[in-house]
Amino acid sequence: MRAFLFLLTAAVSFGLCYLLSSRQYLPLPLGSFLSPQEGFWQNAEPVDEDFSAQLRFPDLKGKVDVYLDDRLVPHVFAEVEDDAYFVQGYLHAKFRLWQMELQVLVAEGRASEVLGDVALNHDREFRRLGMPYAAENSLRAMEANDTTKRQCDAYSAGINAYIQSLSEASLPIEYKLLGYTPEPWSNYKTALFLKYMSYDLAAHESDFEMTNAKNVFSKEEFDLLFPPIQDSLDPIIPKGTAFAPPSIPLRIPETADSLYFSTDSVSAASLFKPDRDNGSNNWAVAGSKTASGAPILCNDPHLGLNLPSLWYEIQISTPSFNAYGVSFPGAPGVIIGYNDSCAFGFTNGGRDVRDYYKIQFKDESRLEYLYNGEWKKTDFRIERIKIKGKPDLLDTVAYTVFGPVMFDHSYTDDGLSSGKDHYAVKWSAHNPSNELMIFHKLNHARNYADYLDACRYLETPGQNCLFAAKNGDIAIRTQGRFPAKWKGQGDFVMPGTDSSYLWQGYIPFEEIPFQFNPERGFVSSANQRPVDSTYPYYLGRDYPSPRGFIINRRLHQMQQITAQDMMSLQTDNYNVFAEMAMPIFRKYVDPNRLDEQGRKYLNELLSWNLRNDVDARGATIFAETWKSFYDSVFVDEYAGMSKHVAKPMESTLLEAILRDSSFRFIDDKRTEQVESLYNLATRGFAGALKTIIEYDQENKLPWGANKATHVDHLLRLPAFSRANLPIGGGTHIINATKDKHGPSWRMVISLANQTEAFGVYPGGQHGNPGSRYYDNFIDHWAEGAYYSLWMMKKEEKTDPRVKWMMSFSNK
C-alpha cells in the first residue's frame, strides 16, 4: 500500500514538474515562468538598479569607459575605435537583445520559428522577395570593405560577449514568454537588419494595383487619376533648377505601346506592404535665417511606433571622432545625429526601385524561361522554413536574370494571384551594397567634402541626406542608387521575355539632384517629389506633397530662427491639406439640405481653426467628411472592383476639383441625373454625419481621443504597450503622428560655437518591460517636449548627470 502511494505521489511530482515546464498543455510553462529564481520575476529590475560594472574581454584592444546618464544614455569613450563598436554591440544586446534578434528573424523570413504558423505567409513572402539573398549579397560587399569588416566584427563580438554572459534567469522576458533562446550574432545578421530597413523604406511601389487600374480605366481617365506631378508640389530641389541632359540615353522598348502600356490582366499583389506613409521631415536653415547666425539642422523620421523603440540613443567618442545621436540596435555607428563639426539626418526618398516582370516558363517544371528568344536555365534556391510545433516547409524559389520569381503556381497568397502567371521581382536592395559606410563616414565628417564622400555609399534605401556644418554650410542630396527609367517604366508589371524592359543603368552620382547653400537660406525635404518635371529621368507618380509645401512656406516666412522655433515647427499641428480642402465644403455643402443637428456639426467644421490639436473636434469632423466625400466621388467607379485596384491620392482629387469643379468623376454613373459638386459635397458631409454623431456620443470627437495614438510592443501585447496617448497631428501635418505611426525621433541641432542639441523618441533606452527606463520618454514625446542632448566631455565624469559607469578592458 505504502509502495503504491509512494509511486503515485512520485508520479504526481514528476508529472507536475513536467507539466509546469512544458507549453504543450498550458499556454505558459508556469513552473519555470513563475519561479522567482529563474522566471519572469528575475526581469523585474529594481527601480534603483545599479548599472555600474567592471568587465573584462580579451577581444578588446584598449580601455573603454561608458558613463550612463540619468536617462540611461551611454557616453562611450574608447581608446581604440574598434573597441567602441564592441561596446556598442554589448550595450545594444544588454538593453535590446530580444528586439534585435526578432527584427532579423523577421527580415530573414524566420519568424515562424518563434511565433508559429501565424507568421508563415510573412516568411514565405520575405524568402520569395529574396531578403536572405539580398543580405548575402550585401554581406559580401560589407566584408570586402576593410573598414566595415572591422567595424562589424567588433560589433558582433560585443553582442556575443553579452549573449554568452546570459543565464536562463537573465534572458529577456520575451524569450521566456515565447520559449526560445538567442542565437549567436553575426555580420550576416547586421546585413539582414539593414535589408529590413530597405524593405521598410525602399518598397515604394504599387505595380500590381496600378496595372489593374490601367486595365479598368481609359487612358484619359487613368492620367487624370494618377498624374505624375501634384499641383501643390514644392519639390526638394526648387522649381526652375536647371538639370543637365541625361548621360544615360533612355530607349523606350519598341513594344512598349503594344505590350506594356496596353491593357492586359495581372492578378497578384504583395500582402505585406510597409506603411505608405513611412517618410519623414528634415530641414536645415542657414545662419542668415537664425538668431545665433549659426545653422540649425532638424530631422524627424516617421516610422511605425513600437516598444522597444527602433532607436537607441548613444554617444560614441574615439580618438578619430566624437558623435551623438540615435543608433539602430542591430548595426554599429550613429545613424542620425551630430559630431563636433556637423550634423546629419535623413528622410525617405520614396523612389520606385522595385519592379515586377512577367516570366514565361517553358513548362511546369520551371527549369527554363523565355529570354531574348531563347530558353534560359532557371536557378533554384530552396528555402527551408522552420515552424514552431510543425514540420518544416520547403519552398523552392526560381531565380531569373530579373530576380526571384515571387509569385508562381506554388505561391498565390491564398488565391491573391491566379497561380497561372509567374512574376519575378527586381529590387535594387538585391544589389551588393554597403550602406554602413555612409554612417561611418558621416560620424567622422568634418566638412561638406566629407559629407559628399559619405553620400557615395548610400544605394538602397534612397534617402534625402541632409547636412549642416559649423562653418555655416547646409546641403541636401536626393541620394541613392536609382534606376534610370524611361517615362512610365516600372509603373506597371513589365514583360519579362526579353532584356528590353530591364533597367538600362543607374543615375550617376553627378546627376543626383542636390542643393548646397542655396540663396533662400534653407534646404528641406518631406518625401515629396524631389524635382519638377524638367528632370530627365522618370521618377514615378505617388509622392505626397502637402507636408513639403507647408514646411517650405513656413521656412520662407521665418527669420531670426531659434532652436525653440524649430521644435515648435516640428510639433506643429496645422493641417495644410484641410486649408486647401475646406473651401470646397464651405462653398458646396448645402446647409438647407441638412437637419438642425447636421447644421450644428457643419458650423463646427466651418469654424474650426485648421489645427489637429488634441482637443480639436473640428479636426475629426473634417477627417470624416473628407473620407466620406472621397468615397462618394469614387464609389461608382470602383463598385465591384477588387481592392487591389490602385486608388488616386487624396491630393489628386482635391487638386482636380480646385482646378475644375466639374471634374468628370464627380458624376455618379449609377444615376441618370448628372451630379454636381453641390450634390457630392453635401452627400459627403451627410454621409459622415452618422459616424460623427456616434463619436460625439462616445466622447471620441476630440481629435486626440479619436486618433488614439498608441505605441505597441512588438508582440502586440497590450500589457507591454502604451495606448491612448494625448497627442495631436496626423497625415499631411508636420507633426505627422497618426494612430501607430509618426515621428520616431525628433531632433534639433543648433551648430553654434557651443552646439545646442535637442531630441526625443517615443520609448526608452531599456527594452525590458520590467524596467523604469522601458517607456519613460513617451509622455515627454507626446507633450511635444524635448530633452537636451548632452555631448559629454571625458573631463565631465563627475557631472551629476552621470549616474553609473561601466568600464571595459582586456585585463
Binding site: L34, W41, V47
Partner: protein, 117 residues
C-alpha cells in the same frame, strides 16, 4: 519541532539548489529533506507545501516591491487579465507549494517503506 526544521530545511535547500539548477530542483530539495527527517506523510506534505509557498511567495514579493511592482502589474494583466500583483504572487507561491508538497510527500512515503522493511 521536526516539522518546523523540515520546513526550514526544505525552503533553504530549495533556494540553494535554485541558484544553480532549474526551477524543478525544488522537488529534489523537498523530496530529500522528507527522506532524511522522519515526519508523518501528512506533515511532510504540509511542510513542503508551506516551505515553497512561503519561499516563492516571499521571494516574488521581495523582488517585486524593489521594482515598484512595475513588471508584476504588466504580467498580471497578461496572465490573469487584471492588474493585481498580489494575486500573481499568490499564484507563484501556490505553484511552488503544489510541487513542494507532493515531492515532500513522496519522500516521506519512501522513507516509511524502508522503515517497514
Amino acid at each position: 519541532m521536526k516539522f518546523f526544521v523540515s520546513l526550514l530545511l526544505m525552503a533553504a535547500l530549495s533556494f540553494a539548489l535554485g541558484l544553480f539548477l532549474p526551477w524543478w530542483s525544488i522537488a529534489i530539495a523537498c523530496f530529500l529533506v522528507a527522506l532524511t527527517i522522519r515526519i508523518k506523510p501528512g506533515g511532510a506534505f504540509l511542510a513542503g507545501f508551506l516551505a515553497l509557498f512561503l519561499l516563492w511567495g516571499w521571494l516574488s514579493f521581495y523582488i517585486s516591491q524593489q521594482n515598484d511592482h512595475v513588471l508584476a502589474n504588466k504580467v498580471s494583466m497578461l496572465v490573469l487579465k487584471k492588474k493585481n500583483p498580489n494575486m500573481l504572487m499568490l499564484l507563484t507561491g501556490a505553484i511552488g507549494a503544489l510541487v513542494g508538497g507532493f515531492s515532500a510527500l513522496s519522500g516521506s512515503l519512501l522513507r516509511s517503506m524502508f522503515k517497514k522493511a
